[in-house]
Amino acid sequence: MTADVVKGMVATRFATAVNIGLVVIVGVWHLGMDTLHVLRGWPVYEPQAAAAGSWLALTVIQTIGSVLLLRSVLSARTARSLAAAALVTGVVATATYPVGETIGDVSWAGNIVGWFGVLLLIQRPLWELITLLGANMAVTVGFLAADGALDQATVSHLLAMAYTTAGIQLTFAYLARQLNAAAREATEIAAGQAEYLARATADETVHAERRRRYEYLRIRVEPLLSGLAERQLDPADPVVRQRAAVEAARLRRLFAETDDTPHPLLHELRACADVAERRGVRVTLLSYGDLPDLPASVRRELGEGALLVLSTAVTRARVTVVATPEEVVVSVVADAPPETLVKSPGPLTVSALYDQEENQLWWENRWPVRPAP
């Protein structure tokens, strides 16, 4: 699911880049080139109001289209309507040219209507743009025919112009589409790889966790049980009893590990417990509440304090983790010497006290999930 989101984001970002490029090209073309054209040919347009009006109308269409496109809210219907409006405005603008100047120095509308098509129909199937460009070309041909100017020279001029305007526009639209498709494909492949990697890592973690538990059974519990069964170990011997108590505590702890991919903090604490158990300390480890993601430094600090107390515990230790919506509290109560009391290496609230009456060290470390107001 996350991979899909990432995939979507990358592809969307890429399409946005293409769209911004397009908006800039069309903006520079219309507001720069067209404006210069219209100003330069201003005296010859007839009526001038229609020329100015069509320039203004195209500016409005361009603004609306650009904003909608960049906001990704340009619907198919709006895109088509705006393209059609641009085409009609182009007809009006062309009508103001002097006779014989349909594809001359003062003509400006044909080319920009094509670019408007690219801008507005970028998210539509390519045939819609081809239709618009065809209609736009038909308008030019129609005006040339009406002027009676369709001689051989004009036709070759027209073909050259079609090649440099509609041809470029179509190529641009085609390439943008290809780039978008390539981006989508690339992000799909990358997301697929990331997903595969994540799954493989998770599988590996699960496998390692299980192997750790089986390994433990083989090395520690099996010899103890077979020793008892074969009467090599005496159940009355205090040493054997202590060993059995430690192993029983550890087995209970392993039974409680129902999560195959434990939270990193629990993973660290379990490792600490393992070390202590190897020294013959009976360790209980309990965790309640859903642990949030912890910054690595916080996790290290919580883990290190617990490790310190566990490493000095003589026979028993109780490690508890409680996650409430407000804080994460890690505590170790153990028969460790009072000298273990040390200052916190970091900014967390550590309180440790030695309980004389119970002869035990009670260490607690709190991390506020939400910073105190």
Binding site: Y288, R318, T320, V322, T324, P325, V333, E357, W362
Partner: protein, 229 residues
């Protein structure tokens, strides 16, 4: 799997034990036999008992590979006091047992004293919170969790951590009795949430009678309060 009715031996407080491991049943019997007020009247390996089989029913949550939390709800609805006794100490299991109407949850590794105390408390409809249950309650993030005071939360948390009310009392700077009141009050608040059950109503009614909570503190159990008389 047929349960064995037993001759009432000594105490006036009757207990039934259901567990699929005979060694556990015998272990519990040995633990309880040291308490003269208690007598075990029934043992069995399946939840085929009638409500009212004993004052308190100690029920292993996992019988032949199946969780029997649903049976707790049925028994509690019929007014049977049930103590959930299990090696499974996941938060979900503990909370669901209490929600179903179990008087208490006792983890199998918590030892004799906690089980005996729980039985004695449950028989009088009084709360007793084991350290395991305290950890579960203080770490509960459920939407329907009751609002606990900061002392109640601290007492639960430290009871879970240290397993010594004397230690908690020294650390909080209050008496052991006060620590116990905080812990029991927190537990009683849990009897007010979720589905209603006679066992929960009885606990609330007794808590009011004992002055542990005031009737005004109770939100959803007016009918139970009226019944106290």
């Amino acid at each position: 799997m047929v349960g064995k009715p037993m001759a009432c031996t000594s105490g006036s407080l009757t207990v039934a034990i259901i567990d699929d491991h005979p060694v556990v049943i015998e272990g519990i019997q040995t633990w309880l036999s040291e308490e003269p007020r208690i007598s075990v009247v029934h043992t069995g390996e399946a939840v085929d008992v009638e409500p009212g089989v004993a004052d308190v029913l100690i029920l292993d949550l996992n019988l032949h590979g199946k969780l029997v939390i649903g049976d707790i709800a049925t028994l509690a609805a019929a007014g049977q006091r049930v103590i959930a006794f299990s090696q499974f100490t996941e938060q979900r299991v503990v909370l669901e047992s209490l929600e179903a109407g179990a008087c208490e949850f006792v983890a199998k590794n918590e030892g004799r004293a906690h089980l005996v105390n729980t039985v004695l408390a449950a028989a009088g409809d009084r709360p007793y919170v084991t350290p395991t249950a305290a950890g579960v309650l203080v770490g509960d993030r459920g939407a329907s969790r009751p609002k606990l005071s900061s002392q109640e939360r601290t007492a639960l948390l430290w009871w879970f951590q240290s397993m010594s009310k004397a230690s908690v009392a020294r650390r909080m700077g209050v008496s052991v009795h006060t620590v116990d009141v905080y812990i029991r009050r927190a537990r009683v608040k849990y009897a007010q949430v979720g589905r209603t059950a006679p066992t929960k109503a009885d606990m609330l009614a007794r808590a009011i009678e004992d002055g542990l909570v005031k009737p005004d503190d109770i939100t959803g159990y007016e009918s139970a309060v009226v019944g106290v008389g």
